[in-house]
């Protein structure tokens, strides 16, 4: 068992050469922009195969303008050299923006290639509680001094009970801290937010999981926010309701599409109510910027 949580906020610190982002339960919510990802985008995939990376430039711009704090970069294109592609994409993204990067791949070699060219302190996406995933990826996280997203599922299943997700979270923390010397603050748990469209009873399990991970372990948490509204109409409204709810249960960052003002504004508003935006100054200056832009 890992040591009991003492209540001190854990800070996951990510860096680019010129910018630092802190994720924590006492911090403003961290938006990890998700669009730099060719999954399900056929034209983007063809362009990447042909060596054309111009779409990345456009996606980076849109996420930055939408208010992303960190950018998720995934280059999972079938039938390509993913390590090479991911390394190139990361170098390109770092030349376009000073936001820190979340390096996203399930291919270990791609994660290593990305980490080796990344300048700063990255977030690695992701490991699970499976022994072979941890054995392959945690040494890289340590070697490159990164933080890591961890999903509390194993080879058998995505557990539907909060107890099992908690048990797997504890396993991940134990292995990462005791066997690989990774700081607890550098483990960001993805509590497994399932699509509401597939089963409306699962959202409350995720909320319970988040609450307990925060209260019992103090860990930072992220999720794939768009996943929660899959298969449903008016997805932005669902996202704008779900994220503030999840924030009150302990979600501290999310991989999400920063191009949706409705969702981004809902998160910023929730920051004010959670007392993470003192006197609402960030909210007020965003209002002024918007007013000035439309004047």
């Amino acid at each position: 068992m890992s040591a009991a949580y003492d209540g001190e906020p854990l800070h996951t610190v990510l860096r680019s050469p010129s910018k630092e982002v802190t994720i924590g339960h006492d911090q403003r919510f961290c938006l990890i922009g998700e669009r730099i990802n060719p999954t399900g985008r056929r034209i983007f995939q063809e362009q990447l195969r042909a060596g054309d990376m111009s779409a990345i430039e456009r996606d980076v711009k849109a996420q930055v303008e939408g208010g992303a704090d960190v950018l998720d970069v995934n280059m999972g294109v079938p039938l390509t050299d993913e390590p090479d592609l991911l390394a190139k994409a990361i170098q390109l993204v770092q030349s376009l923006t000073d936001l820190p990067i979340c390096i996203d791949s399930s291919v270990v070699e791609a994660l290593e290639a990305g980490l080796s060219v990344y300048q700063g302190r990255a977030l690695v996406n992701s490991i699970t509680a499976e022994d072979d995933r941890m054995e392959a990826i945690l040494p890289l996280v340590k070697k490159y001094d990164a933080a890591v997203i961890a999903l509390p599922n194993d080879a058998d299943e995505i557990p539907m009970e909060a107890d099992k997700r908690l048990a797997l979270t504890e396993k991940i923390v134990r292995v990462a801290t005791e066997e690989y010397g990774i700081a607890k603050a550098d483990i960001v748990i993805d509590p497994l937010a399932m699509p509401i469209g597939a089963d409306t009873s699962t959202a409350l399990v995720t909320m319970e999981t988040m609450r307990r991970i925060r209260d019992e372990h103090g860990l930072n948490m992220t999720c794939g926010a768009s996943n929660t509204s899959f298969g449903m109409p008016d997805r932005h409204t669902l996202g704008a309701a779900w994220l503030p709810m999840a924030m009150t249960q302990g979600l501290t960052c999310a991989i999400m599409d920063a191009r949706s003002p409705q969702i981004v504004e809902a998160v910023k508003a929730a920051d004010v109510f959670m007392n993470h935006d003192e006197w609402g100054m960030a909210w007020i200056s965003a209002h002024r910027a918007k007013a000035a832009a439309t004047a």
Binding site: A155, P195, G197, F230, G231
Partner: protein
């Protein structure tokens, strides 16, 4: 209610809105009134599921509606299947389905299953994280017309090839049609692994599956 037309209409309407208890009741009422199981299936349940699929494709229906309609139909099928077997009604074909090893995603696969069952296929679902040897054992046991491999991740797609190799090794490759699918899968990728068919969505899968079975049956000399 014992008027066959009313029962058929009721079955169609209640399946469409996914009212599983009512669909089962109407199935019982129909059977009690002496209606043929195949009439309930082909004149109400299947057309209703086809309409569900069409609405889903148009964007008028959403995932939960498709899931509950599928569940309603599955409840009726459980009651009808033994009766249909007795009367010797042939299924369109048998479809063995599974999400590949390393992958736990199943929503898309389940939607495809619903549409296949709705079209009259017998679907055997092996679930998620299905290892090649498990596919092989199930193919040997059930002798399906088609086996479907589903993958949601670019990193689990290579399991298609591993499954194909296992089929070759077991000497089963010629005995079963192979279809692949999943969010990141493309026709190009399906070709690269040597699959017989690919479809981008659930209703396209039904059409492709029917075509592939017809082609195969046409090749077999009568």
């Amino acid at each position: 209610m014992s008027d066959p037309n009313e029962i058929l209409k009721g079955l169609y309407d209640e399946t469409l809105v996914g009212n599983a208890p009512r669909v089962l009741e109407l199935t019982e009422e129909g059977l009690a009134a002496g209606m043929e199981p195949q009439s309930l299936l082909f004149e109400a349940l299947i057309p209703s599921l086809e309409e569900v699929g069409a609405r889903f494709e148009r964007g008028d229906f959403f995932v939960p509606e498709m899931l509950i309609a599928g569940r309603a139909m599955a409840g009726a099928m459980e009651r009808l299947r033994p009766l249909l077997a007795e009367t010797g009604v042939e299924t369109v074909g048998t479809f063995l389905m599974g999400t590949v090893k390393g992958d736990v995603h199943d929503i898309g696969k389940n939607l495809v299953n619903i549409m296949l069952e709705g079209a009259g296929f017998e679907v055997i679902d092996l679930g998620v994280q299905v290892a090649p040897e498990k596919f092989i054992a199930a193919i040997e046991e059930h002798k399906p017309d088609i086996v479907g491999f589903s993958a949601f991740l670019t990193t689990t797609m290579p399991m298609f090839k591993a499954n194909m190799n296992a089929l070759e090794k077991a000497g089963l490759r010629d005995q079963v049609i192979v279809m692949v699918g999943g969010a990141p899968v493309t026709q190009e990728y399906a070709d690269a692994v040597g699959a017989d068919g690919y479809a981008a969505d659930a209703s396209a899968c039904v059409k492709r599956a029917k075509d592939l079975i017809e082609q195969k049956r046409a090749k077999v000399p009568a």
